[in-house]
Amino acid sequence: MATPDIETSATAASTRAGTGTTFTRFVGLATIVGMIALGVFGLLLSPADVQQSDSVRILYIHVGTVWIAYVAFAVTALSSAAYLWKRTTSLTWDRLAGASAEIGVLFMALTLLAGSLWGRLSWGKFWVWDARVTSTAFMFVTYVGYLAVRGLGGSHQQRARRSAVVALLAVLEIPLVHFSVKLWRGLHQDSSVADRTHVNLHGLMLFSLFISLVAFTLLYVWLLMHRQRVLAMQDAIDNTGLDYALQQRRDEGDL
């Protein structure tokens, strides 16, 4: 549990000039409290599961991260649509989509990691060719590609239009992949291992899961606001900031 205090310093840093505001500081503090609570409840207070014993503790992380990854990708899709829709078109939507996708990719990676560790404990293998697991991996790769498209260069409008279209194509692709993998597994001999492992959550376990969802949602909001603002500043620097930076260097020279 050494990590939350690193986060404290991160939030403390944002109290000075930067991307922080009173609201983000509040969310940041709540996130830290939530994460500490998640650590305490997930690792110490909640009991081991009857069937899965202690490996169920991984799920408190896993469910939280996968939830955020899905939320993040949904936000990316909606913001991209908002950008492409002529009446709401604004680069803010594009930056929101980009910030959200970046967070989504990070959390998808964490989801795959926690998921495979959990799978090793409860299924005996890191990976099963289950439709949900496989389309999750595809989602990860697709949004890594989306981020690469964002990095292609060109004007901000070009970047925004290109990446918005790619984000909407991803919405077309993901269900198709999911469906085809499902069909593929369905027609094969062994039904998915995932269906055979059930967790009956109740009491403290359910409460820990609830804490996880709340804490990770707060974390997502905090990350999204900061990341979006950083992107806005990068765009502003691309546009006009160069002159300003040069002016500052000149001023420094005079001192």
Binding site: L84, F138, V141, T142, V144, G145, A148, V149, L152, G153, G154, Q158, R161, R162, A164, V165, V166, L168, L169, L172, E173, L176, V177, F179, S180, V181, L183, W184, L187
Partner: protein, 225 residues
């Protein structure tokens, strides 16, 4: 739109007929990939069991090269810019390039199928011919559509050579799954019956339907600068 598409397709195919880049470079590449698969798997039984999958894998690899070639001829001399400046309908460009790509893919797949018959002793059966044909047509159209779509996106941008596979391969995964299973049914690989294959053709049809509409709509904004 369709008139434009026909013109663009005819132009692409004429460029190919005169330059013979696909014929002289991509087809031999696909054939050598088929030989390499046999080296890697090192067993006649395994190779003949997985032959349909290998045919489609080799098709996907070659698709990446075909798409790059298809947009390399557009970017040389700023051909795309000229087309756009002339006010040519982007949907027409999209369908035209997809048609030309589909023709080239069809030739390539034929070569791959023949090489599977020769190298992997794959046997065609009469009852599966219709399924085989429909599968190849549906998969070819689907691959040509998404290939053109993402090729247009990556074309004309620095670093496109490495970006295209990353974008394209996840999208065509349903085609690989569907086409491979349907081909297995058509050939009777691993005891599959012809009737097993038709649901997979349905999957391919859904794929084609979604990406023909999605691609026609998306291509314009993607290539606009």
């Amino acid at each position: 739109m369709f008139r434009v598409a026909r013109l663009i397709a005819a132009k692409d195919l004429r460029v190919e007929l005169r330059s013979r880049v696909v014929t002289n470079q991509v087809l031999p590449f696909a054939a050598i990939v088929m030989v390499m698969f046999a080296f890697a798997l090192n067993s006649d039984a395994v190779v003949s069991r997985v032959a349909p999958g290998l045919v489609w894998l080799a098709t996907l690899f070659s698709l990446l090269i075909l798409v790059q070639r298809s947009f390399a001829i557009e970017n040389a001399d700023g051909a795309t810019d000229a087309l756009r400046a002339a006010g040519v309908d982007p949907s027409g460009i999209f369908l035209g390039k997809a048609m030309a790509l589909a023709v080239q893919l069809a030739v390539l797949e034929l070569v791959l199928l023949v090489s599977a018959v020769v190298l992997y002793s794959t046997e065609l059966r009469v009852g599966g011919i219709v399924l085989l044909l429909v599968t190849f047509v549906a998969a070819t159209v689907g691959l040509a559509l998404v290939g053109t779509l993402y090729g247009g996106l990556a074309g004309g941008v620095r670093g496109r050579e490495t970006l295209l596979p990353l974008l394209l391969l996840p999208v065509v995964a349903p085609v690989l799954i569907g086409a491979t299973r349907a081909t297995e049914s058509a050939l009777g690989t691993g005891g599959a019956t012809v009737a097993d294959g038709w649901p997979w053709v349905g999957l391919l049809a859904v794929f084609v339907a979604l990406f023909s509409v999605g691609g026609t709509l998306a291509f314009g904004p993607l290539i606009e600068e």
